[in-house]
Symmetry: C2
Subunit: 216 residues, 2 copies
DNA sequence: TACCAAATTAACTATTTGGTTAATATGATT
DNA sequence: AATCATATTAACCAAATAGTTAATTTGGTA
């Protein structure tokens, strides 16, 4: 029962690795078995089917990705503090799991309805509610600082985009900026200060100057 | 030779649709044939193999996505004007082809080396060079405006992220903000003014106030 | 109309791949 | 040591799927 645990864990680890890299459809059970240095039949012995094994991996990924946001933005503190926490927490986590968001995004698209049902609607944490509340906080802060022309919802999407996108598009970013893995990591570390700085600049008071230059 | 063209075009159209939605691995030749209302053998008659058909679709996608950036940022005009053009051009294009970036990103990851070789290194337009040049322009602009603490490369990545990410993560965005397709489209349209506004705020002069508040 | 090349189809083949099974190894317990 | 449940393996099976082929249709041309 000890070696049992070990084998099951090895399989899961290998499955995470390969499913996250290649996605459900391109993954072969044999690839997973090879990576775990184990007979293919063991995958079925422990997890019944490819779909069930995948489900475990996917659920684990979701668990790794979403609760963090919810916890941080529903906490106490200023909007700006929460933004700093989000950036810190997610950039750290994504540096350790760079393929996580791409995997989640791709698989959600393969089965959009399943995601909406389980992660959004049936979720007792009601992420949609919590996000709405945070966006309202953020909008209040923007209004207070005299930058009410900026829509908080758009800004929130932009924040997540700035954090997550470089990892989703990692090969593209590395290619177009001619970075190796090390340089990419450095760039992402630097982002931990860049993004909060950018937001500080955006939120930074213009309170007395209530009307901005007229746009087109 | 007329009906010929028509059939070949129908196949390509169907292939684009399905490959972009499901990716190479999850796509079945039969699905494409069904969508084109045509016998599966015709796919091989016109395109030889799944891989060759896919290559056409992928190349077309790359052609649709990358030259725009290169053309815009290597043009004349201020950095800010180029940013406005990028936003306008890409948001329009992505509203018409919302699955394009997710497709490209996912398939690049499946064959990273092939992408680096063909799109980045062997590309006569030398996108890496052109991007570097634009980043330098942008940095100059930032320095001029007294916001030199903001790194232009990070800012450029952020710009692309803000434009592209919502489409890559479309189902997630729609789910978490409880939007239907129409509401999502509206949000993306609004983004055409939001992003330039955000950048205007960032770039907007602080030229006289050369030293910013000290960080933590 | 007769003919012919190109287009199209139904049926087939070969291969890949998820899943099963029957036989064997392992290691704890009596 | 003998026993027994559990873990592991090699060999196998069945379904799915890319790709082929041989026969048929189509539509223009002599």
């Amino acid at each position: 029962m000890n070696k049992d645990q070990k084998t099951e864990a090895r399989i899961l680890e290998a499955a995470i690795e390969i499913f996250q890299q290649k996605g459900f459809a391109a993954t072969r059970m044999q690839d997973i078995a090879d990576r775990a240095s184990i007979n293919k039949a063991m995958l079925h012995y422990y997890f019944r089917s490819k779909q069930k094994l995948f489900d475990r991996v996917f659920q684990y990924a979701i668990q790794q990705f979403f609760p963090g946001i919810v916890a941080i933005i529903s906490g106490n503190g200023s909007a700006e503090a929460k933004i700093r926490q989000l950036v810190e927490f997610y950039l750290d986590m994504l540096q350790k799991n760079p393929r996580l968001p791409g995997f989640i995004i791709h698989e959600i698209q393969q089965n959009e309805e399943h995601f909406l049902e389980t992660v959004v609607r049936k979720n007792p944490f009601q992420p949609a509610r919590i996000i709405t509340r945070f966006v309202e906080e953020l909008q209040a802060e923007l209004n207070l600082q005299g930058v009410s022309e900026l829509d908080a919802r758009q800004l929130f999407v932009s924040l997540i985009a700035m954090i997550v996108f470089p990892f989703v598009a990692r090969p593209m970013v590395m290619g177009l900026f001619e970075l190796d893995s090390e340089a990419f990591e450095k760039m992402m570390s630097a982002r931990k200060t860049f993004i909060p700085l950018l937001f500080a600049r955006l939120l930074q008071g213009q309170a007395e100057n209530k009307d901005a230059e007229g746009g087109e």
